[in-house]
């Protein structure tokens, strides 16, 4: 799965720590999501999309292998 979390976070001028605090996870989790090492749950994905004010599909996309 691909995502644009880092780009959208930077557009909102949020640090990883700030984003993590907003959705109630650790900074390590945000980093792991941004680098594609961790695929978040539906709940976490929706929370992220809400912070960015965008649909979930604009933040997370399926790739060929999914």
């Amino acid at each position: 799965m691909e995502n644009t979390v880092r780009e959208k976070r930077n557009a909102k001028q949020l640090t990883q720590t700030q984003l993590a605090e907003l959705i109630g996870v650790s900074r390590q989790t945000i980093f792991s999501i941004e680098t594609g090492k961790y695929v978040p749950s539906v709940i976490l994905a929706i929370k992220l999309a809400r912070v960015f004010g965008e649909p979930v599909e604009d933040v997370f996309q399926l790739d060929e292998s999914d």
Binding site: T15, Q16, V25, S26, Q28, S32, T35
Partner: protein, 163 residues
């Protein structure tokens, strides 16, 4: 009953406060060191230096107390580290925790099967080795779980720590 237990585990209500991790990280290696020193005979040497005969009932009581204390220290310390919450217990930590449990279970199965196969091929091992193996394989599960869990979270991929 099983469903309630699973839900409680899912919500991580069965985990200890984070402070227990530090306590466990201190008493577990301390217990292991004590047990090792006891196995190497240093306890008996120390007692002998105080004039306590090895064969006396007093010596036996002290040695047994020392071994029990060291083993309990190691066991409780390992459990504290294994069941202590992380500072932020989120879904990623829970997944790493589950994967680490599976890894530890698989490793334990492989070791146990290997031991039994070797016993069949090479013959029954001495009783003392069997007892040591029983303790060791039990600890192997928890130690491998703790090592894998903490390595995955804190040591693999240090990039996330750079601001």
């Amino acid at each position: 009953m099983l469903y309630i237990t699973i839900m409680e585990v899912k919500k991580m209500k069965m985990l200890l406060p984070h402070q227990f991790k530090t306590i466990g990280a201190i008493i577990a290696p301390l217990g292991f060191a004590m047990w090792t020193l006891g196995q190497l005979g240093y306890v008996s040497m120390v007692l002998a230096s105080f004039g306590v005969s090895f064969l006396s009932a007093e010596s036996r009581t002290l040695r047994v107390s020392f071994f029990v204390t060291s083993l309990l220290s190691l066991l409780f310390g390992t459990f504290f580290v294994a069941f202590a919450k992380e500072k932020v217990e989120d879904e990623m930590v829970q997944r790493v925790r589950l994967e680490s449990f599976m890894f530890a279970a698989l490793l334990q199965i492989v070791v146990v099967l290997s031991f039994f196969v070797s016993a069949v091929v090479l013959g029954e091992p001495p009783r003392s080795l069997m007892e040591l193996f029983a303790i060791g394989v039990f600890l192997l599960f928890w130690v491998s779980y703790v090592v894998r869990f903490n390595y995955t979270l804190h040591f693999s991929d240090q990039q996330w720590k750079t601001p």
